[in-house]
Every structure is written in structure tokens, then in C-alpha cells.
Amino acid sequence: MHNKPLTQLADDLVTKRVSSVEVTQYFLSRIEQHGNLNAFITVDPDFSLAQAREADRRIQQGDRPALIGVPVAHKDIFCTKGMLTTCGSRILSNFVSPYDATVVDRLNQNGAVILGKTNMDEFAMGSSNETSYYGPVKNPWDNATVPGGSSGGSAASVAARIAPAATGTDTGGSIRQPAAFCGVTGFKPSYGQVSRYGMVAFASSLDQGGPITRSAEDAALLLNVIAGFDARDSTSVQRQTPDFVADLNGDIQGLRIGLPAQFFGEGLDSKVERVVREALQEYEKLGATLIDIDLPNSDLCVPCYYVLAPSEASSNLARYDGVRYGYRASDYSDLIDMYMKTRAEGFGDEVKRRIMIGTYALSAGYYDAYYLKAQQLRRLIAEDFERAFEQCDVIMGPTTPTTAFAIGAKTDDPIAMYLNDIYTISVNLAGLPGISIPAGLDGNGKPIGLQIIGQYFGDTHVLNAAHRFQMTTDWHQRAPSGVQQ
């Protein structure tokens, strides 16, 4: 059952070949079986099975929305009414949201079952899942390596087939990078495509939710439910939501694929490059044309991001004060001391580092040198993409410079960790859609991701290109050893 595509699982459910209670129980037992991965922060079988029984009841009554009865795991950044939402942090370790995020609400309305809440880097700040208060997640392909981050638990659970599909969020690569490391499909929609309501804020001008699945087709199925205008998110874009599933099958004959010179330069592992070039050859066979393009300010995207994202974070995370919800220190002398101790005990090292950097960058005398300067660079980076898209329809390249690294290898060097996202960050700065799809394995059997970037609100073109590749290759069907059978 765990190797079935989401589309088939959904079909089996509506045709009553299997019940939602059976499917949910099956995946709950797989989660338990693979508990060593530490992919979940919260699993609540009673909660999930109650939803499954309700789904079965709706199916019996002939009420059959798209994902009725299908279990979906949520990154623990999405608020779920009645189930813990920790965001991987001690400061939210006791937080039960009084409301559902729009993404969760829409999936619930469509009959999906919440399978649990997946582990993640604390407040989505990290590229390895090692900053989580709940401990690191192991990569199912090699338990000594990281799954990537920050949506590490979601990517690992889809890779290990302990969740049929999962949600994630991507601020600088947090869906695409773990998808690449775990050999699954991770899609970051255009900024404004998926509602951020109820999604714990990290850097509001960059954060975007999206699906982590085994294929582009599964991603499209989820997007048809979660995407679209939401009045409760002021950055939600008001425009016709496409039918992501129907648009998968477009012809890619003549598709112009831009290859940025900067994505194939120094720092790119040769095995990753070889696999990505082979994938590009596959696209040529499918009738696409490869065009060399230039994104001249690419090397500045990481420094630019590490001013903007911490600045926004320092402002967003000011709300954790131990007054209205979440953790409160037990020992303090006065109100200010309570704030300071609560935050010192509630946040982990990386989160504190970023709050400090952001506070500094926004402070008087430094605002222009850091924050404003980074915003000016952000425009140059966005304009590079605009110019590139005059020559091509989509942009392709590696998702990450290397395959998954060892647990602990980069925890002492924040900058080495930041450089993991060198190919993904610019996409968030410009607000564009991007996907990582499995493109092959390195010599040690570790997955490698191909990144496809589209124009603003060209989400369906990205998914279409990904789907076409998955029609003629089987990399997305590969599973880590030990989870096959």
C-alpha cells in the first residue's frame, strides 16, 4: 500500500477498495516501525482515526472530495486545532492552536486525514533539521546523514513511505533542499499562491507553503486543494487558480530551458553535476532546447538573504514573550527579566543568532548598511530572473551543491550550513515557483535533485516540465533500501 501513488490511493478510497481507517492505521503503524528516523514530533492516533472514521462515513454517503480519506502529514509549522503545533521549538512546546491554518483547513474540508506533525528545524531556521528542539531527523537513505531542512521530517517521511504525502514550507529552500536530499518531489509555489494564514511566520516576504510528495502528479493533486485566494492572508494573490492536475500534461516540445552559468560553477560536486546534465539530456530527448543564461548577482543571494530573513525573523519572533501562549520561564525578577529568560530558555542557538543578526541589521546607524542594501540587491536579483526569462521558459540546475552530508558535519559552522541553499535562495527573493525532483543517485546511492524554476505564477509550467520527466524516468519511484517490499 505504501508504494501507491496518491492518485491511486485516493481512487482506492472512493471506490471503497480500502477504508480510510485501514489506510490511516497502516501508515500509523509504519510511523511507529520507523520511529528511529525521528520524522514526527506529534502523532495522535485517536485524533487521526476519528478523522478517518468521519471520512469513511462521508464516502458511504457519496460525499467524495478530491482527497477524501487520504492521510497527509503536516510540517509542525502549520497550526492544527486540537493538536500540538511546536514549530520545532521549546517556546511552543506546549502550544495547542485554537484554530487551523488555511492549508490544514482546506485539506480537512476535502476529507484528508492529519497523519501527524513532522519534525523540522526550529522556526524553519536550518538546512539539516539539526536545530530542532526535538532532535535531528535521520535520512532514510543513509541514517548517518541529514535529511536536509527545514522541512526534514516531511521529506524523510515521504521518502520512507511512512506518509503518502506531506506539507512543507520554503523560505530559502526548505522544501526543495530536503526533497533533493531525500529523493522526493518538493514544490515551492509562487509567493502568494498558497495561504500563509496559520503558518508560523519566519520571514514573511519569503515564506511559502507547498507539497512534498513522491511525484509532480501527487503535488498537483494536493495543490488543487491547498492553493488559491484566501482573504485571511493579506499577501494571498487574487487570480484564477489553475487546475494543476489538468495542466500537467502539456507538450514540452520546444520548451526553452535556461541554464544559469552560476549554477554550474565552483562548489558544485562533480557527481551532482553529472546527474543534472544527464537529466538535461533527457529533456532534450523530449524536445526541449537548452540555452545558456546569466544570473550575474547569484553569488550575492546568500549574503542578501542572511540580512533580510533574520531581520524579518527578529520582528516576527518578538511575539514570543511568555505572556499569551507558549513557554514561560519559571524563575524571573520582573517583567523584562521574564521576557529575557523566557526567550533565552525557549529559543535554541540558531534562532538566537538570527534574532541577534536581525536586530542589529535593523538598528539605527546600521539599517542602511545592511537592511536597505540587501533590499537593493534583492531587486537586482529579481531583475536578473526577469531578464533571463526573456530568453527561456523555465530555468534548470541542481537543487543543492552536494548530496546529503553527515549529521553533525556542519553544526559548528553556520556559514557552511547557509551555503547549502546557494541555488534555492534566489527563487524566494524573487517570489518565483520552484521544484526539486529526483534526478538520479550518486556513487553511494544518495539521491540528487534537479531544480526547475518558473516565472512568477508560472507554477503549472514548472509542474508540467517535472511531470514530463517523471513520465519517462523512474527516479521518483526509487525508495531507500529497507522500505521497499
Binding site: T235, L300, Y306, V307, G326, D334, M356, L377
Partner: protein, 116 residues
């Protein structure tokens, strides 16, 4: 914006032989932590000085690009933010919101005494 007071090294005055010079000093880190409402132990200040300085040195690559007449870009959808009608859309959920508060009483959030 807040003022960090004295004690900071002025970026523009830093020479080219500054590779071992820290971008931040001890007192600046303490000031930032106070602004950010983060308690840090005195023994951790030096670690912050060195970690944060490395990050600031790294982001200084930004200065290699001339952005003189470039308009800052704050957001992918600049200028397109939507306004909604000024009508009540939310119901009062005070009770449900307060059930998750660390300390509350009679509909109020409790904090340490601020006025004697």
C-alpha cells in the same frame, strides 16, 4: 529603529587589513541582546561576538555591488497589497485564546507587577 549607542566599529572606517578585527564588540552584543529581549550569560558574550562577527563579515560581500540608484525591493508583490472593507470579520474568541496562556485570571493575562 533603535540606537545601539557607542562601542560599534564604523563599517566605513574599517581598513582592508581588518580580517581579524571583529565587526562587533562585547558591549554591542550586550546592547543587541537587550534590544532583542534575550538574556545571555556573561560567559557567552564572547562566543556571540565571534559568531555574529563572522556572519556580518560574510554578508559584507554585498558592498562589492554598487546599488546607488537601485530602488529597494521589500516584497515580491510590491505595491499590490490588497485592502479589505473596514467591517468586523472575526468573532470574539477570548476564552479559547486564553486557555493556552501561561497565566490568566478573570479574562486577564497575568504578568509580574510593573507598577508599585
Amino acid at each position: 529603529m533603535f540606537n545601539l549607542n557607542a562601542g560599534c566599529v564604523n563599517l566605513k572606517n574599517r581598513g582592508s587589513n581588518c580580517c581579524i578585527q571583529m565587526a562587533l564588540d562585547h558591549q554591542t552584543v550586550i546592547n543587541i541582546a537587550r534590544l532583542a529581549r534575550l538574556h545571555i550569560d556573561e560567559s557567552d558574550v564572547d562566543r556571540y561576538v565571534s559568531e555574529l562577527s563572522r556572519i556580518l563579515d560574510f554578508v559584507e560581500q554585498m558592498n562589492g555591488v554598487d546599488t546607488e540608484d537601485v530602488m529597494p525591493l521589500a516584497h515580491p508583490q510590491e505595491g499590490r497589497l490588497r485592502l479589505r472593507d473596514d467591517i468586523v470579520t472575526e468573532t470574539n474568541q477570548r476564552e479559547s485564546f486564553q486557555t493556552v496562556a501561561p497565566e490568566q485570571e478573570a479574562g486577564l493575562y497575568l504578568v509580574p507587577k510593573v507598577i508599585e
